[in-house]
């Protein structure tokens, strides 16, 4: 077991993890942050996307120990003082989610995209979200949600 310390959604955590434990399972099973979901075992679907020092990463591609001293944000950390984050608001307004399983990953990837490129074109949005799979929406309203968030 290895002892690690990192910050998630503004809260400092210290815990012991197995060296082989993936970050997504550290979040879900050790910290109970089950908003981040697991949709595949090949780093293909992006459901597990979180922010690592502000940039999106698939939390199934990192080991928990790699989060040492890093600052993580998960979907649970987006809403502030009971108000949804503008990206969450936009997904709601644009019907950018149906079953919602991919949604935390989509929302986190969008937050990351808009911090890097506040006014992305439709093509840039589609390319930026290439690593996040959704089976319900056909992506059309996800793209619209990103555009809505960018305009807000």
């Amino acid at each position: 077991m290895r002892r690690i310390a990192f910050t998630v959604n503004g809260t400092r955590h210290e815990l012991e993890v197995e060296p082989r434990e993936l970050l997504v399972y550290v979040l879900r099973e050790r910290l109970g942050l089950t908003g981040t979901t697991v949709g595949c075992d090949t780093s293909s679907c992006g459901a597990c996307t979180v922010l690592l020092d502000g940039e999106s990463v698939k939390s199934c591609t990192l080991l928990g120990v790699q989060a040492e001293d890093r600052d993580l944000t998960t979907v649970e950390g987006l809403a502030q003082n009971g108000s949804l984050h503008p990206v969450q608001e936009a997904f709601h307004a644009a019907h950018g989610l149906q079953c919602g399983y991919c949604t935390p990953g989509m929302v986190m990837a969008t937050v990351s995209l808009l911090s890097e490129n506040p006014r992305p074109s439709e093509a840039e949005i589609r390319l930026a979200l290439e690593g996040n799979l959704c089976r319900c929406t056909g992506y059309q309203n996800i793209v619209k949600a990103v555009q809505t968030a960018a305009a807000s």
């Binding site: 679907c45 949804l84 793209v143």
Partner: protein
């Protein structure tokens, strides 16, 4: 039945979804998010062979591994089963249905067939220990290709049968042979519906809790069908139905893959019973590619007979449909859900359909979005284009000539289409896509030998959904009814609970059904709570599949509101001391005609609860249930048009535009309906261009993970251009029809007709799906 026109505030408007708040903030109840004290994890050991005799299973190393509580082979658990896993649709009396045990005992029959389980204190320890199970396999020859499974000498999937044929099912009407003999023109086409993997983004998962002293079990499952699972798993496990509660909590997509009753559900129940502790199983994605049902895998032969003018007189269809290694819940019936539709929206006189179901050493097939109807639509729409080419006609003109124009319309195949206007949706789609302009551009590109060729493809589809009238289901030997139920519970404080028998997993039932009740009972949308997916809360239900939730469950709810209003009226009349015919009802309020004296449904609910002043003999409480058995299927239709550009040097297909004009009857929430259509089109486009499950000669699933099975991302798809025409269904008071599958049903044909149209200057008349660059490039090279 006439469609009721009431004053509506919510129906027909794009109310933002009530479902979203928890999904957007991560406050979700996926099965994988649930834990219980003392919970154990199960890992399933699966066969790496497509066909093998199981000579022995050695658990000793696994049993000694860290954290392991137990390990069992199929033989070890043999005494646990009261019955095999259910197949609820024995389509013919003589259909072969060899027992499907939750763990294989003597033989593994596909790669992924479960042969043993290991139960341990954690997810990781269970998985580690599963690696230590030693299975002594004797590999045997296998057959995974549906076209080879009926050959003489093909390896048998089930030794007790004398061939791999599961059933032959036929439907015929009219003088088909005569019509073909007299036909001026005929076409005969062969199409391949490749095998698909549904890919709901939430993998399956099961958690079972129990009260050993009472023999009570609760199963949370990522399922579309908690009610059906409860009935059938009772039969498999021997747990009395009355002691089994099934809960579908938040469920992350289904598309038919969770319309099933799976080995892992049965295993978790019996392992909990055997070990006396809660049991959890969560599917890994690559595991799911083997262990969750696949879709399609059908070879289609279709022949059309037509007059010299192009009037189609008869259609003859032969299907060879892969069942996989075993029959899952409704495996054999899936190709037959298209059996009535091979004439499309065209009024043919002669109809001849036959389907042979075939076992192969593959993951079982079953319902995948559209289930039988995308296949039927694909065959007739591709064949109509082939006929147009043969006749030298524009595919638009040929379709118009043949459209059914009067409704209700009795099909030669025997069912009755409720309503439609196929010309209207075609007109609108052609207008949106600017058909003539696209044809001009196509001609110019052909003229100048442009390396990028343009293709335009139509799919004027209709389909039957809203499953289904119970009497028709009986006639086709389906094991359950097609009704659904809804309960409206008016609480004394003025809010309402709505209990629905359908079980949503992304479709927005909570919002849509709230809209119906808000209008009918004159309430605000937030005063209504919609409960679903728990057999202890919702005693009556038939769950969600086959685009049935609104067309059956929604109508049950609408009708339940009639009963609430009727009872409330009695209470109000009594309270206001007037005759009930003196009361006018509008949006939740009863008013004494010609006065300002009134009382609301909410006030009636309180009066019903206090029961201080009710009419003699009236039962207290204002709660009504309606169980609705639809008199007919619902019959959406419409026109989809795809425009593709094909780079003839590389074979790459670019979907430039996609126009969809759908007629799904009355629309309750346009935003949700559009979302359903977007997603449906995306899955159909994916079948046409991207996705294919491939087995190698040895029966290995080559496309065994998301890395090599091409689920499209946002980067591969365009925006879809949508509009609607509206032919309300006359069979229900709201005029609604189903919508969940239309996009997937219509789109493969539109895209592939466009691909073939683009390639027609090369003399190419067919390309197998998916039309990958390699396939298209090879076809062009062979044709050059």
């Amino acid at each position: 039945m006439a469609v009721t026109k009431e004053r509506t505030t919510y129906i027909g408007t794009s109310v933002a979804r009530k479902e979203d708040a928890n999904l957007l903030t991560g406050q979700t109840r996926w099965v994988d998010n649930l834990t219980l004290p003392g919970m154990l994890w199960v890992s399933v050991v699966r066969s790496p062979h497509a066909h093998a005799r199981i000579k022995g299973v050695n658990m000793s190393k696994a049993a000694e591994a860290e954290g392991v509580v137990a390990a069992f082979s199929g033989t070890d658990l043999a005494e646990e089963w009261a019955g095999a896993l259910p197949c609820a649709w024995p389509v013919t009396e003589e259909m072969a249905n060899p027992p499907h045990w939750p763990l294989a005992k003597d033989k593994a029959r596909y790669v992924g067939d479960g042969v043993a389980v290991v139960i341990a204190e954690s997810r990781v320890l269970a998985k580690d220990a599963a690696e230590l199970v030693e299975v002594d396999y004797e590999p045997l020859p296998s057959v995974t290709d549906v076209t080879k499974a009926l050959d003489d000498g093909a390896p048998l999937v089930h030794d007790e049968l004398d061939s791999n044929r599961c059933y032959t099912w036929a439907l015929a009407a009219g003088e088909v042979d005569r019509l073909f003999a007299e036909a001026a023109v005929t076409v005969k086409e062969r199409y391949r519906q490749q095998r698909l993997i549904p890919n709901a983004i939430e993998p399956r998962g099961v958690l079972v809790d129990l009260t050993p002293a009472q023999g009570e079990f609760t199963m949370w499952s990522a399922t579309q069908v908690p009610h059906i699972a409860r009935v059938t798993l009772s039969g498999t496990t021997g747990i009395p139905e009355s002691k089994l509660r099934v809960v579908a909590p938040d469920v992350g997509g289904g598309f038919g893959s969770k319309l099933n009753v799976y080995a892992e559900e049965a295993l978790c129940l019996v392992l909990a019973r055997r070990l006396g502790r809660p049991i959890k199983w969560i599917e890994e994605r690559s595991e799911g590619y083997l262990a969750t049902i696949h879709g399609r895998d059908v070879i289609q032969e279709i022949e059309l007979a037509a007059t010299a003018e192009g009037k189609i007189t008869a259609v003859r269809t032969r299907l060879t449909a892969a069942m996989g290694a075993y029959l899952q819940l409704v495996t054999p019936g899936i190709p037959l859900l298209g059996a009535w539709l091979y004439g499309g929206c065209y009024g043919v006189e002669g109809y001849d359909f036959e389907c042979v179901g075939v076992f192969t050493h593959t993951t079982p097939t079953d319902a995948y979005r559209g289930a039988g109807r995308p296949e039927a639509t694909y065959a007739i729409e591709r064949a109509v284009d082939a006929l147009a080419r043969k006749l030298g006609q524009d595919p638009v003109d040929l379709r118009r000539l043949n459209f059914i124009k009067e409704f209700p319309a009795e099909l030669a195949s025997g069912l009755t289409v409720d309503s439609g206007d196929y010309d209207a949706s075609l007109d609108r789609a052609l207008e949106m896509v600017e058909y003539d302009a696209v044809r001009r551009e196509q001609a110019e590109r052909r003229e100048r030998g442009d390396s990028t060729q343009l293709g335009i493809g139509l799919s004027t589809y209709m389909e039957m959904c809203g499953l289904a009238p119970s009497r028709i289901l009986a006639a086709i030997r389906y094991g359950a009814g097609g009704w659904d139920a809804a309960t409206i519970r008016c609480l004394p404080t003025g809010t309402v609970q709505v209990l629905i028998g359908t079980s949503p997993h992304g479709q927005g039932h909570v919002t849509t059904f709230s809209q119906i009740i808000a209008d009918r009972l004159g309430m605000a949308i937030d005063e209504i709570e919609v409960l679903h997916g728990d057999t202890s809360v919702i005693p009556l239900g038939m769950d969600t599949y086959g685009s049935r939730s609104l067309a059956v469950g929604g109508v049950a709810l609408y009708n339940a509101a009639d009963k609430v209003i009727a009872k409330a009226k009695q209470i109000v009349a009594h309270g206001l001391e007037v005759a009930d015919y003196d009361l006018e009802y509008d949006a939740g309020r009863f008013t004494v005609r010609g006065t300002d004296r009134s009382m609301t449904v909410k006030e009636a609910a309180l009066a019903a609860w206090t029961a201080h002043n009710l009419p003699d003999g009236m039962e207290p409480g204002l709660e009504e249930t309606y169980v609705y058995d639809p008199p007919n299927f619902s019959w959406p239709g419409g026109c989809h048009v795809a425009v593709v550009e094909i780079d003839t040097e590389t074979g790459s297909v670019d979907l430039r535009r996609y126009v969809a004009v759908d007629d799904v009857g009355t629309v309750i929430n346009p935003m949700i309906v559009d979302g359903q259509i977007h997603g449906g089109i995306a899955q159909g486009v994916a079948q046409a261009l991207f996705e294919e499950a491939v087995y190698d000669e040895d029966g290995n699933l080559v496309t065994g993970s998301m890395v090599n099975y091409m689920v499209p991302s946002a980067a591969e798809l365009p925006n879809f251009e949508l509009d609607r025409t509206e032919s309300p269904s006359p069979t229900n008071p709201m005029g609604v029809k189903g919508v969940g599958e239309t996009g997937t049903i219509a789109s493969p044909a539109a895209v592939m007709n466009a691909v073939v149209d683009a390639l027609s200057p090369f003399g190419i008349t067919d390309i197998d799906m998916p039309a990958t660059p390699e396939r298209v490039w090879r076809a062009i090279e062979e044709a050059r």
